[in-house]
Symmetry: C2
Subunit: 377 residues, 2 copies
Amino acid sequence: MNFLSTLDSPAAIINLPRMLHNIQLMQQRMDALDVRFRPHVKTSKCIPVVRAQIEAGAHGITVSTLKEAKYFFVDGITDILYAVGMAPGKLPQVLSLRRQGCDLKIISDSVASATAILDFGRAHGEAFEVWIEIDTDGHRSGIKPDDNALLEVAHVLHDGGMHLGGVMTHAGSSYGLDTEEALVAMAEQERSGCVRAAERVRAEGIPCPVVSVGSTPTALSARSLEGITEVRAGVYVFFDLVMHNIGVCEMNELAMSVLATVIGHRIEKGWAIIDAGWMALSRDRSTQKQKCDFGYGQVCDINGTVLRGYLLSDVNQEHGIVSYEGAPDKNIDQSFPVGTQLLILPNHACATAAQFPEYHLLSKDGGLVSWNRLYGW
Amino acid sequence: MNFLSTLDSPAAIINLPRMLHNIQLMQQRMDALDVRFRPHVKTSKCIPVVRAQIEAGAHGITVSTLKEAKYFFVDGITDILYAVGMAPGKLPQVLSLRRQGCDLKIISDSVASATAILDFGRAHGEAFEVWIEIDTDGHRSGIKPDDNALLEVAHVLHDGGMHLGGVMTHAGSSYGLDTEEALVAMAEQERSGCVRAAERVRAEGIPCPVVSVGSTPTALSARSLEGITEVRAGVYVFFDLVMHNIGVCEMNELAMSVLATVIGHRIEKGWAIIDAGWMALSRDRSTQKQKCDFGYGQVCDINGTVLRGYLLSDVNQEHGIVSYEGAPDKNIDQSFPVGTQLLILPNHACATAAQFPEYHLLSKDGGLVSWNRLYGW
């Protein structure tokens, strides 16, 4: 009997051997490239997952919220990078964590935010460790490597008595690529831009020890990481359909899926209705713009075997519609009778996992366990 | 000082006077149409919100998960409709709730699911109350009013000793309309189809006391509800940009928003970056197909004043991009300096609210309170 048959649906399921394989693969790659690895825990937000990453050799973690920082600090992790630009109103939380012994680093990409950090730090006698966010691909935040603002921010922080810990970048536009050539080029662009920024800061006589880059696609595509001290990546731990479309994982490396149950049919339309909608899968449709559009997810049987052509074609809050691409399956009530359990591979693991309070998995000793995950801010 | 300035962001904010206005408006309409009202609590999943709906005159509630049923039953509500087709594996939970005194009703739209309910009910000596789901608009689930399967399911349940409580439908395709004429016609189609189904069941000599219809757009558009005994609606309690585009609410009736803080800028692109991304707003882009595309949300100032033209144009996990429609605002760092707090009105209140563990609001006595909401399954 499949262990999943005892679970209520919808539920988030981790395939533990696949997850451990993904963790090993990334760590070995980073070791071979001679850089430290700092996983982004926003994907799993889960202590046992992050422990497995640390055990495999990761140095420190990256977080997307201060709640994550607190959660993992209480669990014993002290080396934490908060990789979202500082809202000045959150500085008291950062101060409190640092005063408790958390080696929490924050980021800035403007004179305005650096000045807010400096003013608060001085008022409270705290030399915050700040990394400057660099924009290497025009994707979102950051200062361009050759922009004068880089040196202005470096001087505001350094001259004001803050600790300029380094520079960091995230080539988020790698998510829009799907050829090895383009990915290798983007990884090199991310590397060279960040190294260039570090060199410019150092040329001012300001120490800039850390040079941090990363996204799952570039981390898995970089040929050289010369000048880089650490890499960050998150979604590689589970992978997902978006990463599969980009070309950095195989379908059988996807380690997280959603358990669902068939509750009805619209035979004339070739639909099976399942009890997992956007509340479970999320509204993420990121494969829509990629080379293969998986709708809201790829349908697999209860053993995880991919049922080619069957997609989660539409969702409402607690309803999902499974249909066959192209011609409707007019025998769908026989293909998937009421009560059939299915596994749905998600477009975006970070977004889907965020919908669940816990993961369910078969542990190494064969027991069914659940792992809590963090929720909210 | 605005009470929101003391809150960390992102946070889900309820405008209490607007919410109470929305509740009153719907209840008065239902009273005038002489039908009972059974709010769908999947929007708020929040006890104080649902208490306000009951106090205003609602009879019972509709839920989208059995976890909601348990949550509100523990709070004292017994008249509960679980309005998602039964997965047979969930019947033990339904049985347990009924044995504890919860008057929980379930739905079926096929002989297969009705038989599963019957078999389980007989095996455990329980006459489940089952409502038959009717399809009045081809939207998703249900049996068409004139389909013979309707009478087959009615006989399976009634003859087998279950309690056929009534028929119910949800004209979800009303979400695709935006003219009063089309909405009035859809409300009439929903009404007449459901009444027709009830009449066919009754003509078989099978009692069919409840005739239940509803969606927020049709509930607010129906001219007559002859033959209908109750109406269900959910999102009206908060309203959202989708409902505004449909034409059933004004912008100043939207009662839920997301508090966010400006963390940076890309001046050359006219972007302000905020600390609220899809983790806070959800990935819902339902206004994309409507007459006005609001991106991921409409930007308002901290007092709730709509800043026309400023939209949340893109989101990542914890980052949102605020930009001006049309020409970039090249002074956006002065329009919204780092640290500026904003309120974002969401496309879809159900999806956005689901991202938060709690709501924050100014209570009637002027105090800042938070209301927990239910999470997961």
